[in-house]
């Protein structure tokens, strides 16, 4: 038979049993008897789980405890009378949120749409939607609602500023982010003597605001410190190498909770009395250092995955050592280990809930304390923790989704 000729059989469509829904089910669910049994068992248990689970969520669960907690979930005790006497300080975290949304708007312009655009619109939209919550979240007055609504124009203003001024570049956004973070701290901490900016001690900072502040500071600082430690550990300078190894192994060998507790008891002793420090500051430092020790090991893995030829070629072309590291080795190394780095960011965010050990009321601890203090809500503990789990899940899943998109964008695994 000639090579180009086709028989009649080759032109027939695939058998019905291999295509469509039935075919898909045959291949994926009922390919063999044990697979069919597994499918039946899985569907049965899933159905049971969904039946009782959904039944509980819709009929039995008492979700009223979540709005009762209300604003406490977001800002903790920031707004209580002792923290903020004679005025309503709820608006200050909301004003800080406006800084974030306008920065997101700028990032949208710089990135030119895509994922950044969607994140900006989502954050702005969800924040604005909170303004329409019928529930009177703890003393959420008209001012707070207006500030929440302003998140949508804030995104637009950020975009416009980036578009019509010279601030629309990645480096300006990085600088403005640092400025915005410091402004947020000033706004939350308050300035003595300025009306409406009554100082609020950091021991009253709490809720999701505290988790996010610690996470953002930790993420922003632990990456550069981790890079420095990883380079130090691979250094030929024996003293530097030894110091880096000692630091990394010490921080990785002890539980974070022990380190946090240690910071509370030991660090005040280690500094002179007049040295400015507070529990939030110490917690942020400890979480950052702990995370950077893990980050260093991730980045070291990335550096090890590079072929030595890369650095050798760069040196052969005449690049000095620091430029070889900064422009040749590090970008490739970090690209190779994006998943573990983002995994470490997620861990860090989850670990911010451990600050309960030094008496700070983050979103988890304030809910637990509320349940503990109000025994009538003891039976609603499940609802609270499931709600909190969802909140954390949205943030962490969002982070891993973004990391996957960034990887796709950089073409990891394709080149």
């Amino acid at each position: 038979m000639a090579a180009g000729s086709t028989s009649k059989a080759a032109m027939l469509p695939p058998p019905r049993s291999e295509t469509g829904v039935v075919g898909w089910m045959r291949i994926n669910l009922f390919s063999a008897w044990h697979n069919s049994a597994l499918t039946v068992i899985a569907i049965a248990s899933l159905a049971l789980f969904l039946w009782y689970g959904l039944g509980w969520i819709i009929l039995d669960a008492d979700w009223r405890v979540v709005p009762t907690l209300g604003g406490r979930l977001i800002i903790g005790q920031y707004n209580i009378e002792v923290a903020c006497p004679g005025q309503n300080c709820f608006w200050r975290p909301q004003a800080a949120l406006l800084l974030i949304t306008s920065l997101l708007g700028m990032a949208w312009y710089v990135a030119g749409g895509g994922l950044t655009k969607r994140i900006a619109l989502l954050v702005g939209g969800v924040s604005a939607a909170f303004a329409f919550l019928p529930l009177g979240l703890d003393q959420m007055g008209l001012d707070v609602r207006l500030l929440l609504l302003a998140n949508v124009p804030a995104v637009a203003i950020g975009w416009a500023v980036a578009n019509y001024t010279r601030l629309g570049s990645a480096s300006w956004i990085a600088i403005l982010s640092v400025v915005a973070f410091l402004l947020t701290l000033v706004l939350l901490r308050g300035v003595p003597g300025v009306p409406f900016l009554h100082p609020v001690s950091v021991i009253y900072w709490g809720g999701l605001m505290l988790n996010l502040l610690l996470a953002i500071a930790g993420i922003a600082l632990s990456l550069p410190i981790g890079i420095a430690l990883a380079l130090g550990r691979r250094s030929r300078l024996q003293v530097v190498k030894f110091l880096c190894i000692a630091f990394i192994e010490t921080f990785r060998g002890v539980p974070l909770i022990t380190l946090l507790f240690m910071s509370q008891v030991l660090v005040p002793l280690a500094f002179p009395d007049n040295f400015p420090q507070n529990s939030l500051f110490r917690a942020a430092i400890v979480i950052t250092l702990f995370s950077s020790a893990y980050m260093a090991e991730n980045i070291r893995g990335g550096l090890q995955s590079l072929h030595p030829g890369q650095a050798e070629a760069a040196r052969a072309l005449g690049l000095p050592g620091w430029q070889t590291t900064l422009f040749i080795s590090l970008p490739q190394a970090i690209r190779n280990v994006i998943p573990p780095i983002v995994g470490q960011f997620i861990s860090l965010f989850k670990d911010t809930s451990l600050v309960y050990i030094i008496g700070m009321l983050d979103v988890v601890e304030i809910s637990r304390a509320f349940i503990q203090g109000n025994p009538e809500y003891l039976s609603s503990a499940k609802e609270v923790f499931i709600f909190l789990a969802l909140v954390f899940w949205v943030f962490t899943y969002g982070m891993s989704y973004v990391s996957r998109r960034v990887e796709q964008h950089l073409g990891v695994g394709e080149r």
């Binding site: 994926n28 669910l29 597994l38 002890v254 280690a270 989850k350 809930s353 309960y356 988890v364 503990a381």
Partner: protein, 401 residues
């Protein structure tokens, strides 16, 4: 001037451009900086300790601790010393670590393999499990389970299963064998160890004979049987000689006016919540490690195994998984370390682990010394897991064909 500069050279190169000089100078400077900083901290701590009359040193270790410890696997009373109380607390952490590691590994492997299943529903269910459990803080897991345990009915209205198992908000009480006397129990346990060694020897001998001669003689069955028979015979002999069995089963039962459960072994609610939380949380990480390991084995291996007629289960057990272990073990060990360290969250739900007890100790003992002890204890635990991992890794690495 120019002559002076020229004299500042080493082998013809100005010293500030000489790589050796620059490297040594930067090392000395960085080393000195750290030494200065650390000694500044130490001097400050020393001054504070003297100024505030804070006790220091390790002499407190022989003093009586005089504080109760909620749960303990070793016998403990309040008049015991600080050192012994510390050991008791460390044992609590070690028990949680070992049991948790075993359970989390088993569950993690099941979920990880399910994630790779050809069955769409099973694979997706495993995916949902992993994505949900590892993206939520462990503390939330623990609180969730702890408040479910707390919400169990009190002792009198508690659940009773077959008059043997008592479940209530105090925990779960179940029948437990207790040694009738330490001498007999240790004698019998020693013979069990000997029996296991003999069983292993029988197993290896029969396996080798089967390989050499082709005569099938059920090496696994014969090995297990010989170990069990030896154990059973010593049990009977010991019981006949002294009139009481080496271990006596203790049944839980309500006692007294409040119906408190006595006898048997009671797993406290905090421990149960801790175990469930730790195991489900860690298993979701282990599942991903297992999946990465299995995926690292070339597809050709699986296809070849199926082509020579091995079943799907046998392919996984005998071909894929042994090779995947090389990729799995190193990150698995770091998960074991994480589990051990994460058990320090136990304090939040009222279980007396090392960190929790040590935290209480700092109220009556010098904090600096306590912290040195804690760090040493966790370091020893981490090193032990690493040693086990490295030993296993050496056995499983490629040794060539």
């Amino acid at each position: 001037m120019a002559t002076m500069l020229r004299s500042l050279t080493y082998q013809g190169i100005p010293i500030w451009r000489n790589i050796y000089v620059v490297q040594w100078a930067s090392q000395i400077v960085s080393g000195l900086l750290v030494v200065v900083l650390v000694s500044w901290f130490i001097v400050n701590i020393g001054n504070e300790i003297q100024a505030r009359d804070i006790p220091y040193g390790f002499s407190f270790l022989s003093r009586e601790y005089q504080t109760p410890i909620g749960q303990h696997f070793l016998a403990y009373k309040s008049s015991d010393s600080f050192l012994y109380a510390f050991v008791v607390a460390a044992t609590n952490t070690v028990v949680v670590s070992i049991v948790g590691v075993i359970l989390a590994t088993a569950l993690g492997i099941v979920v990880g393999v399910s994630r790779m299943s050809g069955n769409w529903i099973v694979a997706k269910a495993a995916l949902v499990y992993i994505e949900f459990f590892r993206n939520v803080p462990l503390l939330l897991h623990l609180f969730f389970w702890f408040y479910i345990v707390l919400a169990l009915p009190p002792v009198r209205q508690g659940y009773v299963i077959a008059q043997r198992l008592y479940i209530n908000n105090g925990g779960v009480s179940l029948p437990w064998p207790y040694p009738s006397s330490y001498g007999m129990a240790t004698t019998w346990l020693a013979t069990v160890v000997v029996a296991a060694i003999i069983g292993r020897a029988v197993n290896r001998w029969l396996t080798r004979r089967e390989a050499d001669t082709g005569v099938s003689s059920y090496p696994l069955v014969a090995g297990c049987a010989s170990a069990i028979v030896i154990g059973a015979i010593t049990w009977l002999v010991l019981s006949a000689v002294s009139g009481i069995t080496p271990f006596v089963m203790s049944q839980p039962a309500p006692h007294g006016t409040f119906g408190r459960i006595a006898g048997g072994f009671t797993l406290p609610g905090g421990l149960i919540a801790l175990m469930i939380g730790l195991v489900t949380y860690t298993s979701s990480f282990i599942a991903e490690i297992v999946r990465a390991g299995i995926q690292s084995v070339g597809r050709g291996q699986t296809e070849a195994a199926r082509a020579v007629g091995l079943s799907a289960g046998s392919t996984l057990r005998d071909v894929t998984f042994p090779q995947a272990l090389r990729v799995i073990v190193p990150p698995l060990i770091s998960q074991y370390l994480n589990l051990t360290k994460n058990s320090s969250l136990a304090g939040a739900i009222g279980y007396s682990d090392l960190t929790n007890v040590a935290k209480t100790m700092t109220q009556t003992a010098p904090a600096v010394s306590i912290f040195i002890l804690i760090m040493a204890a966790y370091l020893v635990m981490s090193l032990t897991w690493s040693l086990i991992g490295n030993w296993y890794n050496r056995r499983k690495r490629f040794t060539g064909v």
